[in-house]
Symmetry: C2
Subunit: 243 residues, 2 copies
C-alpha cells in the first residue's frame, strides 16, 4: 500500500486511512500488535514523525492504544460515539443499523421566539425558519424535532422537501455552510400531550429532551434544534477519558 505524494491529502491522513483499512479488513485483530513506528516509517517511506501523527489521531479516537516499550495495539471496537460527532438524524439512525424516515409537520417562516433569538444571536422577532419533523426509525416514531434557522441566511431553504432531504446536506451543498461544532444539552422530562400523541407513547412517559446549537467554523450559530426522543427507544452512548 503506497502513499500518493501528489495527492491533496496529507501523508499522515493517507497513512491513517491505510491503517484503519487494515484494521477494518481484519488484517490486524483486536489487541494485536501493529508494526513499530520505525518499521511503518520505513515501509511507507515517511518520517517517523509523520507516522506518529497518524497514530496519535488513531489513539485519540480510540482505534489503537500505545504502550511505551511494547508497541502499538489495535483497541477493542468502540461503541457508538455520537455524543462526540456532529451528525444529523438520518446518519445517526443508519449508524445504528436502522432505516430513517421523516415527516414534515411544520415548515414556515415565523418571527423568532425569544429563546430562539437569543440562541441564534438574532434581534428580537427577526424572521426564522421553523422546521418541525416527526423522526421515524424502521417505521416507528422515534423523535419530534423542531429546527430554527435564520431566514436571512437561508432564504430559499423551504424550497426543499425535508421529508426526504438532509438539512445539513442542503446547508453544505447549496449555501456552502460548513458546520463544524455544536453545543448540546440532554435532559429527562415527562412527555407533553402532543408528544405522547405523535410519538405514540403510553402516558405517563419519559422522553430525552435535547437542545442543540450548531455553529459554523467562524462560531456563528446557524441552527437551534429542540428535540424529544422516546425514552424507551433511544439511548446515548459515550466514551469518557481520564484527564
Amino acid at each position: 500500500m503506497k502513499l500518493h505524494r501528489e495527492a491533496p491529502d496529507p501523508l499522515y491522513l493517507q497513512l491513517k486511512a491505510s491503517i484503519v483499512s487494515d484494521i477494518t479488513s481484519r488484517r490486524y485483530n483486536t489487541n494485536q500488535r501493529l508494526p513499530s513506528e520505525r518499521e511503518l516509517a520505513l515501509r511507507f517511506k515517511v518520517s517517523r514523525m509523520t507516522v506518529r501523527q497518524a497514530l496519535l489521531e488513531l489513539a485519540r479516537e480510540g482505534t489503537i492504544y500505545t504502550r511505551t516499550g511494547k508497541g502499538t495495539f489495535v483497541a477493542e471496537p468502540k461503541i457508538d460515539q455520537q455524543l462526540r460527532a456532529l451528525t444529523g438524524f438520518s446518519q445517526d439512525v443508519r449508524a445504528r443499523g436502522n432505516k430513517p424516515t421523516s415527516r414534515v409537520l411544520k415548515a414556515k417562516v415565523i418571527p423568532s421566539p425569544s429563546d430562539v433569538a437569543i440562541a441564534l444571536r438574532l434581534t428580537p422577532n427577526a424572521e426564522v425558519i421553523q422546521l418541525s419533523r416527526l423522526r421515524v426509525a424502521d417505521g416507528k416514531p422515534l423523535a419530534l424535532e423542531t429546527a430554527y434557522l435564520p431566514f436571512a441566511l437561508f432564504p430559499n431553504l423551504l424550497n426543499h422537501n425535508f421529508a426526504n432531504e438532509s438539512l445539513y446536506a442542503v446547508l453544505e451543498n447549496e449555501y456552502k455552510v460548513v458546520l463544524t461544532q455544536a453545543e448540546q444539552t440532554i435532559e429527562a422530562a415527562l412527555a407533553e400531550p402532543d408528544e405522547i400523541k405523535l410519538l405514540k407513547l403510553d402516558p405517563p412517559a419519559a422522553v430525552l429532551r435535547i437542545q442543540r446549537l450548531t455553529l459554523t467554523s467562524d462560531g456563528i450559530p446557524v441552527e437551534y434544534v429542540l428535540s424529544a426522543y422516546r425514552g424507551d427507544r433511544y439511548k446515548f452512548r459515550s466514551n469518557l477519558q481520564a484527564r
Copy 2:
C-alpha cells in the same frame, strides 16, 4: 514565565499550562489573538514543534482555535464537558458550583447479579462490592447511584466511609488503580417507587438513567455503576465536532 527544563513534566505540558493560566487570568480575552507559534517558541526558548504540540492539545480541548494565515485565538469558554471527562460525582457537582454530599445506603459484598458479572467480566456469582449512595447537591437529593466493584480486586474497600471519601481517589491512592476510560449510556425513564421516595420526586417523574463501565488503562473493567438522576435537576452538556 519560564519553563523548568529539569522538571519531570514535559515542556509542552508546561507551556500548555502557562497558556491556560494566561487565558484563565484574563491576560487573553475570548477571541483575542495569541502570539504566533514562532513568537511563543522564541519567548519560551523551545522549538516550534513543541509549541505546536501544546497548542494542538488546547485546540482539541476547545480552549483555543487556530486559523491558517491568521493566527491562534482564545475560544469561547466551553460549557461543561463532563460527557468527555471521566470524573466522579463530587468533582462533577463542584464544577457546576454546587456543594456535593453523599449518604451511603448500602455497602456490602454480594454475589454479583448476572448483568454485573457480564459487565465486569466476572464468573457468575463472583463476589462484588455493592455501594449504593444517595447523591446530594446543596442539600437537595440529586441522584441515586449504585456502584459494583470486583471484591477480589479491592478486598478492603469497604473499610472506607464513602459518605465522605471519593471512591476514585481511594482506588488510585490505595490500590494504585489508574482509571483511564469509561463507557456510558444515558437514557430517559420513569422513576421507580424507591427513586421517587429517595429523590423526593412528585410522581410521575422522569429520570436520566445512566450506566457506566469504568476501565483501567489495560482495558480491565473495575467499576459498573447504575445511576438515576432527577430529570428536573440535572442535564448533560456536550460539545459536538464535525468529522
